[in-house]
């Protein structure tokens, strides 16, 4: 599957934006769209910027219809220059706006890497708190869509190493709807990673917005992990695209007599170590799953922190399932690179056998 076929995989669900309580079954891409629409409608300072996000609605159609509704000054088709998009977003944030920028694909964020890590992440610190730059950076990330190179990467560790940024990633449509709004409400810069392989996975979403707390408790809750399956024998920590795979693995493990708990981290920076430590304190075993390369990846940080907290409760070393120390491979072999159900079960077996 080429990038072109990705672009034509358009979703067509229509989203109501009225405030009446309504739960709909939506793909994640439409849930993000609904969240963006609500943010644009409730706060005049919110604006969207990015390549092809206006008339086209984005290559994944996540911003479909928003320019028609809110105009070209609030949903801006940017020049094709990622550093320029981020740099001008920083200036707009300093002028009081809340820019939400889209980077078209994970592999295209690097021209903006300097603006993100050197400028955006540090301005609050450098100004001794006098400047806030609440920019949200939406990045479709991860593989498993059969794309050509630079379209399937997971760069979260590169950003997590930089203080001043918050990094979150939803695994469900409902979380995508609420978390994008809470990210926009956050006074800090947020990198909002969208698991593009899950864009078309559907879930129930309460579009009334009533359940979305946009106050300080709301954006604090952005970084709270959620236990999506309880178990007693072993904990799997996953986030974004790998949560569904981890749940499927837990299901299979159950058939083999193993009771596996699954924690959806939801946030890569900060990491909710409390929830993980509580879980591992009960199960004694932890497998961390992500698509990003394992070497210096989030799993390494999680393993170190959980080991510090749960050294005496651990029955086995913390194991990781993730990408290899290779560039992201060609799509015809990407399934061997990605943390598949089988590779997760292999790690579960190794941990239990330890």
């Amino acid at each position: 599957m080429s990038a072109e076929t990705v672009e034509t995989a358009e979703t067509s669900a229509t989203v109501e934006t009225s405030s009446r309580p309504s739960t709909e079954r939506l793909p994640m891409a439409r849930a993000i769209n609904a969240g963006l629409r609500r943010a644009l409608a409730t706060d005049d300072r919110v604006m969207l910027m990015g390549e092809d996000i206006g008339r086209l609605g984005g290559v994944f159609r996540v911003t479909d219809g928003l320019q028609a509704e809110f105009g070209t000054q609030r949903v801006v088709d940017s020049p094709l220059a990622e550093s320029g998009i981020l740099g001008t977003a920083i200036g707009l944030a300093m002028a009081g706006y809340r820019p939400v920028v889209e980077i078209q694909f994970d592999g295209f964020v690097f021209p903006a890497f300097d603006q993100i890590t050197t400028q955006l992440a540090k301005l609050h610190y450098r100004s001794a708190g006098r400047l806030q730059v609440p920019v949200v950076i939406r990045i479709p990330y991860g593989g498993n869509i059969g794309a050509i190179e630079h379209h399937s990467e997971s760069p979260e560790a590169l950003f997590a190493h930089t203080a001043g940024l918050r990094i979150v990633t939803p695994a469900t449509a409902a979380d995508a709807y609420s978390m994008i709004q809470q990210s926009i409400a956050s006074p800090d810069p947020v990198i909002f990673l969208e698991p593009k392989a899950r864009y078309w996975d559907k879930g129930e979403v309460d579009l009334s917005g009533d359940g979305v707390d946009l106050g300080p408790d709301g954006w604090r809750s952005l970084h709270v992990a959620r236990t999506v399956r309880t178990g007693t024998d072993l904990t799997i920590a996953a986030y974004g695209p790998t949560v569904a795979t981890a749940l499927a693995a837990a299901q299979v493990a159950e058939g083999e007599g193993h009771d596996v708990e699954v924690v959806d981290l939801r946030s890569v920076s900060p990491i909710d170590v409390d929830t993980l430590a509580e879980s591992v304190g009960r199960t004694g075993r932890l497998v961390v799953v992500h698509e990003a390369p394992m070497f210096f990846g989030p799993g390494a940080e999680i393993a170190a922190r959980v080991t510090e907290r749960c050294f005496h409760q651990l029955e086995a070393p913390v194991l990781r399932v993730g990408g290899f120390h290779t560039p992201y491979p060609a799509s015809s072999v990407e399934k061997e690179y990605l943390p598949s159900l089988d590779r997760i079960l292999d790690a579960v077996d190794r941990s239990l056998a330890y």
């Binding site: 740099g87 001008t88 200036g91 300093m94 001794a128 006098r130």
Partner: protein, 400 residues
Amino acid sequence: MSSTETPVAPAGTTELSWPDPCEVAGTVRLVAPDGSRLPAQALELSGHGVYAAAAARTTPDQLRAMYRDMVLTRAFDREATSLQRQGELGLWPECRGQEAAQIGSAHALRPRDHVFPSYREHGVAHVRGLPLHELLHLFRGTEHGGWDPTAHGFHLYTLVIGSHTLHATGYGMGIQRDGDVGTGTDRDRAVVAYFGDGATAQGDVNEALVFAATTNAPVVFFCQNNHWAISAPTSVQTTVPLVERASGFGIPGVRVDGNDAVAVKAVTEAALERARAGGGPTFIEAVTYRMGAHTTSDDPTRYRERAEEEAWSRRDPIERLAALLRAEEHADADFFAAVEAESAELAAGVRTYCRSLTPPPAATIFDHVYASEHPLVAEESAWFAQYEASFDGAPAGGHA
């Protein structure tokens, strides 16, 4: 380091070897290096009559104020350089020689305009009302910033070359959205981004020009071509006069004698008025010269001729304005003496202030990483406090 090496000028070097680049046709110059105004008729013919007319409206008070600001800036700059040499500052980037470009352009600003400087715009900071000594925090290592960017419409210094030109453009896009452009009232605002000849090679500066042009943002791109990006001459960055770059972006470009404060003010005023009125961005190339080293860590004797520096010292911007003030009898000996006395007083105050700056408490390392609470920062901050407290009551140098 070869700071003790004696620079050797090429045999036969004369002033003619370093022709004045501001004598090139098309460069706006209103006051010659000897302090005489260029004839109005000649300026009319070269298409610069509009600037001459604007300069004619510059009052003697304004001319004296510019002169005073230039002298104070140089005195401050000299003092900061000395402070670095004496170990009181970690680093200092001198602005000597660029006073007319900075003071002249800053005098064109209105209070509601916003400035995004690089790291050498000490003169602009001064005109914006920022007490000059506040610039020292950054270079003494007691703070990364040191001043409130909103209080004086003067952003923090940006050390990564050219990054801030995008922030300036984004800020200008914000001004547009606020409706503060083209109203014809005092509400109208604009942005100035200061950068150098080296920065024009950066991608960010080129992207800023693209964004500003296509959005018609109210931004004045003020390029101080001081001829040297550390050791690299402008020819390393460009094969055409920098001002010619502008037209490729669809932005009007103006080349001005950057050592002529009167011309710089006139050119910048016109560009700012155009931006505030909704006319969009302008690119100004102010041709000047970095008389000092890039910073106090640099050694220009390794890469440039002393004869070049001597040629430029004969085009000194402060002497030029002083000559104009004398020739037109706008200032007498008492005025010059008073400014001199004031600059000595400023330098002494700067010295005292600098030495009073002490390191902040170590625990402040953890302040302002995020605008809202963050569990990891809280955890590390708490650990650090506990670690520090473990020394309480212990003999010096030992753990409790």
